[in-house]
Amino acid sequence: MAQAQLRMIWAGLGALTLAMLFMSDAAKWLIEYPEAWVLPITPWLNAAMDWTVAVFGPAFKAFSAVMDIPMSAVREFLQWLPWSVTLVLLTFVAYAVSGTSLAIFTFLAVLYMVVIGYWPESMNSLSLVAISVPMAVGIGFGLGALAFFSDRAERIIKPVMDLLQTVPAFAYLLPILLLFGFGPVVGLIASILYAFPPTVRNTMLGLRRVPDEVIEAGLMSGATMRQLFWRVRVPSAMRQILLGVNQTTMAAFSMVIIASIIGGTADIGWEVLSTMRKAQFGESLLAGIVIALMAMVMDRITAAAAIAEPKEPILNEPLWSRYRMWLIAGGLALFTAALAQVFPALSAYPRAWEIFPAQYLNDAVTFVVVEYSDAINTIKSVAFFFIMLPVKIGLNETVSPFTWGFEFTTPLRIGYAAIAAAVILWVARSKGSGAGVAVFFAAMLIYFGLTRMPWPAIVAVAALLSWQLAGPKLAIGTALSLMFLVVSGVWPQAMLSVYLCGIAVLLSFALGATLGILASEFDGVSKVLRPINDTLQTMPLFVILIPFLMIFKIGEFTALLAIMAYAIVPAIRYTEHGLRSVPAYVIEAATCIGCTRMQRLWRVKLPLALPVMMLGLNQTIMYGIAMLVIAALVGTNGLGQQVYIGLGDGDFGVGIVAGLGMAIIAIIADRLTAAWSKGRQEELGLEAE
């Protein structure tokens, strides 16, 4: 489509939307999709699921019984092993793969679990991870290799992986629960399903990146196809594959934690969740720290194993020396076990020695909340009345003496329209008509609110945007999948999700980009931010909720903050990365021309870094949506809550439709931002990442 035509269509769509808004009193269906028109997708899905359970249920149940054997064995073993032996072994592993500092960190982290009194729960979680990671890695490696060799397999595997990773983790639990029955095995299977895609991706990537010459050298050395795979391709790709294993481990662990929501696992995730529900935030935080520490230890150890340099080999090394690390580990374990026989405290940590400062924490929080209640309430209500509500239901309904302190009278409304029109004209003049149209839609949105916008207009805007950024194929996909949300009756919830996530994404991107700019200009800022980002990123999502929950209690504002805390990380990272990877010669040229530092930043670096920053925005959206479901636990009303309700009632249809809805939103947002970033990078002649 030509630019001029597109502009006409945009303008037409804007006018049409406005017309629909004024017609909405007469034609209510434009705003609220009538219940009578909703296709009974949920009952259909439930019927299909009932049938599946009836027919295949026994097979699945049998499978779950089989899976239960190794899982119980590992759990029993870890529970039986004296804590001191586990502590010594984990510390030694950390030392072997990385060195003293990680060993010290691991030692302290494991000791914390013992002293705080969460040892059995931690070991229950660990046993699930210990089973699910090897299985996920095995499946992932197999599928990755298959996709590497067969294009047809790749065409099937890739979209399935996309779906598995964008459907919120909660939504998986439901079908698994129905098929495999109650119990920890659900967590295991869910965690395998959720965790294997990173290994597939990295295996494929690693195998693909082996240089042609290395393959040719292998062939010319006379390798058979089998030798070429196992002795050339796989070892050359090993580093990438191990990075996949690291990501798989983290995904498996976070799913194990999430899965505890169905209960019956007596693991550390359940501990956090149940205390959170009872508003025992001190206890919840102490258990949450266990999760955070476990995540950090697992992440650091697997990451160190992935990037470890091979050790200088010793020619003709004797056998005992080649396996000396194993021998030392075995010796240490035996020695500690013997000690534990002599000193029972090393075997079962005495209750009396446990330190559990939950009460102090609770008191401290209560003190803060009471002492600063005015400030906290002010922050909450300002954010709610002046940012969240206008986007949600529009100024039209927000402004009242109770919220803003005055009535939204007709002259004020006219004034708003006049100011909006002036701004639109000015922007259209100075930045082009495209920007003008964007401001026009923004002005409508703020006046009427996202949830009061006519659904046909939103579907059309999204489709047109898709067309403009990526062509007709994406436009059709966008329109169809959004219509699925409409006809399945979850449109209102979807808009609530978009509203909350949208605000969180915009705020965290603005904040994150600012921090990223600072970090790229000042090394000190970068140094401070990096460990914080690392920690936030490895943290299972649950844990992020706790501190906000302690201070701001249940509510949408808490959810917003939690989403922001998680989604800000990619915004910071990509901004800094984008700015720092602007080619040095461009910066030198700019400096020679006589740019000041600010000019260099605004007029040279930022425009060049923008595509990478857009990838950051893409990731910010993905992170935001992932956190949205978790945030449903603290009181939101979107699709996340819907998934949660489905899970609670065992209503497969409701949960799955809501889960798919979130996946749809995530995928559309992903495709749009990725297409924009790719197009822009190609224009700038930069290497697409």
Binding site: A217, G222, R231, P310, I314
Partner: protein
């Protein structure tokens, strides 16, 4: 190796490699009837890409055969057809008289394990293996016993001068060192046929020169049959027994380096020879002074040494230098004869250059 070409080791006959046109019936009747350039034009018009077009040459036992061409000329395609890393679309490759293209996968693996070695531009080392294990890699693929491996690996490590670096990893070595590993690995199986695909192109000029010398030294002791690919004309001149120039997948000229310089087949070849320093190419035999008489106290040099090597001697010996072959005096080189020869070569090039400059100015 003046005319004494040994028996043919590898014979490449009418090799074609056509991308995106494998199924078109170009080779049912056309080859032989249509001229190569015309057939290429037709293929390109059809959207097919003739990466190598009707390439034929022989490599003799103990010979260094250099294929020279700029990037995209098809030289790497040819060497990959020879080693069957890619399959030729048409033609024959005879190794010791047997058609390599008809070998089964199993036989091919066997041939690669015992008869062929290859060195790559970017070294192609296994990043996860130490120097020792990289070199032992082809041996261990064959399932050779440890003690035999140790003996063979030690020998090639000595040959390329890598003693003391056995336990390093490729990443820890300089480019020159890495290529030594590549060379050692390709030689570990004691191949008869040795392919080198731009082995020194990724190295710094100084190191490149040093590696060329080493390569020639190794070849003097091993006497392999070699196909050497390069885009560097001077490198080709230095090491080739015979060489072939390629352009757009086709052979432009083939012969001994001096033949190419004296009689470039066309302007394309002439453009390469133009930058060749004549003092290096011209031999004593090419610049004999017909009028000078051999004197008893004149210094002596072999008649195939370059003019460059004669210059310092000529500066000292006013009467000239004797050019010898097998103890016999072939003639005398004097300062006058050298200058005359160089002047003559430049005069040959003169008009060309002048007209080129005129064209540039216009």
């Amino acid at each position: 190796m003046e005319n004494g070409l040994g028996e043919v080791k590898l014979s490449c006959r009418n090799i074609w490699k056509v991308y995106a046109g494998e199924n078109a019936p170009y080779f049912k009747s056309d080859v032989g009837s249509a001229a190569t350039p015309e057939l290429c034009t037709r293929m390109r018009a059809d959207g097919a890409i003739p990466a190598a077009a009707d390439v034929s040459f022989d490599v003799h036992v103990g010979e260094i055969f250099v294929i020279m061409g700029l990037s995209g000329s098809g030289k790497s395609t040819v060497v990959r057809c020879l080693s069957r890393l890619i399959e030729a679309t048409h033609g024959e490759i005879l190794l010791d008289g047997e058609d390599l293209l008809k070998k089964s996968d199993k036989d091919l693996i066997d041939i690669r394990r015992h008869k062929m070695g290859m060195v790559f531009q970017n070294f192609g080392l296994m990043p996860h293996l130490s120097v020792w294990d990289n070199i032992a890699f082809p041996l261990s693929l064959q399932g050779l016993g440890k003690s035999e491996q140790i003996e063979k690996v030690r020998r090639v490590i000595e040959l390329v001068g890598l003693e003391g670096r056995e336990t390093s990893y490729p990443k820890q070595l300089s480019g020159g060192q890495q290529q030594r590993v590549g060379i050692a690995r390709s030689l570990a199986i004691e191949p008869e046929l040795w392919f080198l695909d731009e082995p020194f192109s990724a190295l710094d000029p100084l190191i490149r020169r040093q590696m060329q010398d080493e390569f020639l030294r190794i070849q003097t002791t091993l006497q392999k049959s070699i196909v050497f690919i390069t885009h560097d004309f001077l490198e080709a001149l230095r090491i080739a027994d015979r060489m072939m120039i390629m352009r757009d997948g086709q052979v432009v000229q083939m012969g001994k380096p001096s033949d190419l310089i004296v009689n470039p087949a066309d302007d394309y070849v002439a453009e390469f020879t133009e930058e060749v320093p004549m003092v290096r190419v011209l031999k004593a035999l090419d610049v004999l002074d017909r009028e000078a008489q051999a004197g008893g106290d004149m210094p002596e040099r072999e008649c195939d040494c370059s003019v460059e090597e004669l210059l310092p001697l000529l500066a000292q010996s006013k009467d000239g230098v004797k050019a010898m072959r097998d103890g016999e005096t072939m003639g005398v080189v004097t300062a006058t004869s050298v200058i005359a020869a160089l002047a003559h070569q430049d005069a040959d090039r003169g008009p060309d250059r002048a007209s080129a400059m005129a064209a540039g100015a216009a």
